[in-house]
Structure formats: structure tokens, C-alpha cells
């Protein structure tokens, strides 16, 4: 199977992850304890794109602004899943904002906390500080995705998590 075929056939994993992450964020007031990475807050806000899976692919809805999240919740009840979402991440006093996509789990338009190093005085220092700030949200997304994957292949997915997720989706009607 070619890479593009494999990506297409398994892209539901990314869509389900974003949908699950939104559900988790809403039901636990954004707080996730990620062990060694510490406690973080993850919030879905702003622009979100949803699309139907399977044969109805292409039927896309884009919602933007916090009040429009209700519209996005309603789209979930119609079988749509999250394709791309604007995410806000808080860790300690630091805050990141980025867009996360389901197909590749790429972070785009990533805004990091303000840097302390000066580009003219210490360009290498700036490089290291920015790399640290770029890698932090990637590690958080990786940790959240790992949590989802382990749950997704476990028996608990069918017995507990999926019914709870479907109930939450149903509340958006």
C-alpha cells in the first residue's frame, strides 16, 4: 500500500483523536495531567472545520468564534468529525495557540510565548529558546495522541469511552 493510500485509509484516527480531545477538554474543564510533561490546559476555540467521513466525504462545515462552537457541536450530531481545530494550550504561565489538523497532526500558525533572547545579542540563544518553545506543544500533542491510541485499541473504548463520547455528542443536538 502506498503512503498516500495508507494515510487516506487511516485518517479516521486523526479525526477521531481531535473529536475525542475536544470531548475530553469540554468534560474535564481543559485540564490534562500528562505525567512527566506536567499538567496542561487544552482548549478548543475559534475556527474549526468538520467533515463527514466515509462515503459522504467532502460535506464540510467551517465554524469560527466561541459562540459558533455550538454550531460545531451540532455538526457532530450529524455524523461530522473534526478535521482541523484552533487549539489553545496553557502550561504554567506559558500559552500557545495553533491549528491542529487531523490528516497529519501538523501544527500550523503556531504562536509561542514571547522569547527572552535577543536576536542580535545572542542568535544561538534565540534559536535554542524558540526550539524549546516549538517542541513543547508538539510533545503535548504527542502525549495526548498516545493516550488516545492506547485507549482506542483497548476494550475500555467500547465499554466506557465510546458510549460517553456518543452521549456528549448527542447533547449537542
Amino acid at each position: 500500500m502506498s503512503l498516500s493510500e495508507r494515510v487516506k485509509q487511516t485518517e479516521f484516527l486523526g479525526r477521531e483523536f481531535l473529536t475525542w480531545l475536544w470531548y475530553q477538554s469540554e468534560t474535564r474543564e481543559g485540564v490534562f495531567d500528562l505525567g512527566d510533561l506536567g499538567t496542561v490546559e487544552v482548549w478548543f476555540e475559534g475556527k474549526m472545520t468538520l467533515e463527514s467521513g466515509g462515503e459522504e466525504r467532502g460535506d464540510r462545515v467551517t465554524c469560527s468564534g466561541s459562540t459558533r462552537l455550538r454550531e460545531a457541536r451540532f455538526a457532530l450530531t450529524k455524523g461530522k468529525q473534526v478535521m482541523q481545530a484552533a487549539v489553545r494550550l496553557l502550561k504554567g504561565n506559558d500559552e500557545w495557540a495553533f491549528s491542529l489538523d487531523a490528516a497529519w497532526l501538523n501544527l500550523s500558525s503556531l504562536k509561542t510565548p514571547r522569547v527572552m533572547q535577543d536576536a542580535r545579542e545572542d542568535p544561538d540563544g534565540l534559536f535554542y529558546e524558540r526550539m524549546f518553545l516549538l517542541e513543547q506543544p508538539i510533545e503535548v500533542v504527542n502525549a495526548l495522541f498516545a493516550r488516545f491510541v492506547v485507549l482506542r485499541v483497548s476494550p475500555e473504548w467500547q465499554s466506557d469511552e465510546l458510549p460517553a463520547l456518543e452521549e456528549w455528542i448527542g447533547e449537542g443536538a
Partner: protein, 209 residues
């Protein structure tokens, strides 16, 4: 915007594990070979792609180990593109066709002749066009094999993968949810084959175990 300022868009790749003992020496030799070179002013070449210093997009001469920033190897990919606006091309082509028709006393030009005129006009205009320039940062964590690249554009990512292979003789692997999930399960000692058994939520074949 690059990794050092403003907002960032990242695509992640995996490079094969240990790049080998003589890797650093080879990198010192090969990075300058694939360094960025400006499009010659008297040519109609449309695209030039090559490495520049991540701290200075105008510096494509590498004289030391400036790209080694432990544990990273950090560079920028500079892409210069020259193009002719479609409207200008149409106008100049029409004028050139009229000239040929008048000179050769023709009422119509054959398709082949029109194509020749179009190619010649395009080549002439390309030589006058000022290139557009873009830079895309790359940071390769040599210890973890993780490569961050500052674009999600498919064409740019393909060009990046190609020049990365040419420079370092290593093939990059795209990271995507299934591949990430596979690694997660493998690291946890869970059978990654379980991934092939799950079906999308709501699909008729969704597992019932």
C-alpha cells in the same frame, strides 16, 4: 515566518536512526554542495532551491560548523522562483504574433508557430523577472531522528525531502497518525497490529468487542 520569529507551521518527519560515525564530516562536505545559488540574471531558469544559514537567509556560504547546533542540525531551505504574469505574457505574445504576421504577410499563424513565439516571449520575459524568495527552516534533532520543517505545502515538502536525501543520503519518512500510533503501541509493548483491527466510529464494520 521561520522558526526564529513569528508564527510557525511545522511538518514532522523521521530520519533514519544513527546517521553513522563519519556523518559530521560528510555533512560538512555535502551541505555546501547543495547550498543555495542565486538564479543567474541572464538565464530563464525558473527555480533555485538550496540551503542557507538558518540565522541569516542571505548567507549561503558555509565556512564552519554553523549548522551544528547540538543536538540539532539546523538549516533553512531557500526557494527562489521566477515567473511571468499570465496577463503580461498574453499581451507580449499578441504583439509578437502581430509582428510576425505583418513581416511574413500571413493572415493566420499555425499553432506550432504560435507555440514557438510563446516560448520565446516567455523566455525573454523570464530574464527580466525579479525572483520571489521564500525560506523554510529545518531543525533535525540528531539524537531523536526527528526533523521539523517549516512548511506544510506539499510541493515545498517534496522538494525538501529530495534535497535532504541528496545532501545527507538519508530518506525521510512522513509522520502521520497511523505511523505515530504504531510507534506508541510498539513502545508500550502493545501489539501494533491491533490498529488494523479497529474501524472508524459509526462505520458498519465497527468492532463490537
Amino acid at each position: 515566518m521561520g522558526f526564529l520569529q513569528g508564527s510557525v507551521t511545522c511538518t514532522r518527519f523521521l530520519a533514519p536512526g544513527d546517521p553513522g560515525e563519519d556523518f559530521r564530516e560528510r555533512a560538512r562536505e555535502r551541505i555546501p554542495k547543495y547550498a543555495f545559488r542565486r538564479l543567474p540574471e541572464d538565464s530563464d531558469r525558473e527555480r533555485s532551491v538550496g540551503w542557507v544559514n538558518i540565522l541569516d537567509e542571505f548567507q549561503s556560504g558555509f565556512f564552519g560548523d554553523e549548522f551544528f547546533k547540538e543536538p540539532y542540525l539546523a538549516l533553512s531551505l531557500r526557494v527562489d522562483t521566477r515567473s511571468v504574469p499570465a496577463r503580461a505574457l498574453r499581451q507580449y505574445c499578441r504583439e509578437a504574433e502581430e509582428e510576425v504576421k505583418a513581416r511574413e504577410d500571413l493572415e493566420f499563424l499555425p499553432t506550432k508557430k504560435r507555440e514557438e513565439i510563446r516560448d520565446a516571449v516567455r523566455s525573454r520575459l523570464l530574464r527580466r523577472a525579479i525572483p520571489r524568495s521564500g525560506t523554510y527552516d529545518m531543525a533535525w534533532d540528531l539524537q531523536r531522528g526527528l526533523v521539523l520543517f517549516g512548511s506544510a505545502n506539499t510541493r515545498i515538502c517534496d522538494e525538501f525531502s529530495e534535497i535532504f536525501f541528496n545532501t545527507f543520503e538519508l530518506r525521510l519518512t512522513s509522520l502521520y497518525p497511523y505511523a505515530l500510533a504504531y510507534d506508541v503501541l510498539q513502545e508500550q509493548g502493545t501489539n501494533p497490529g491491533l490498529l488494523d483491527e479497529i474501524r472508524p466510529i459509526g462505520s458498519p464494520e465497527e468492532e463490537t468487542t
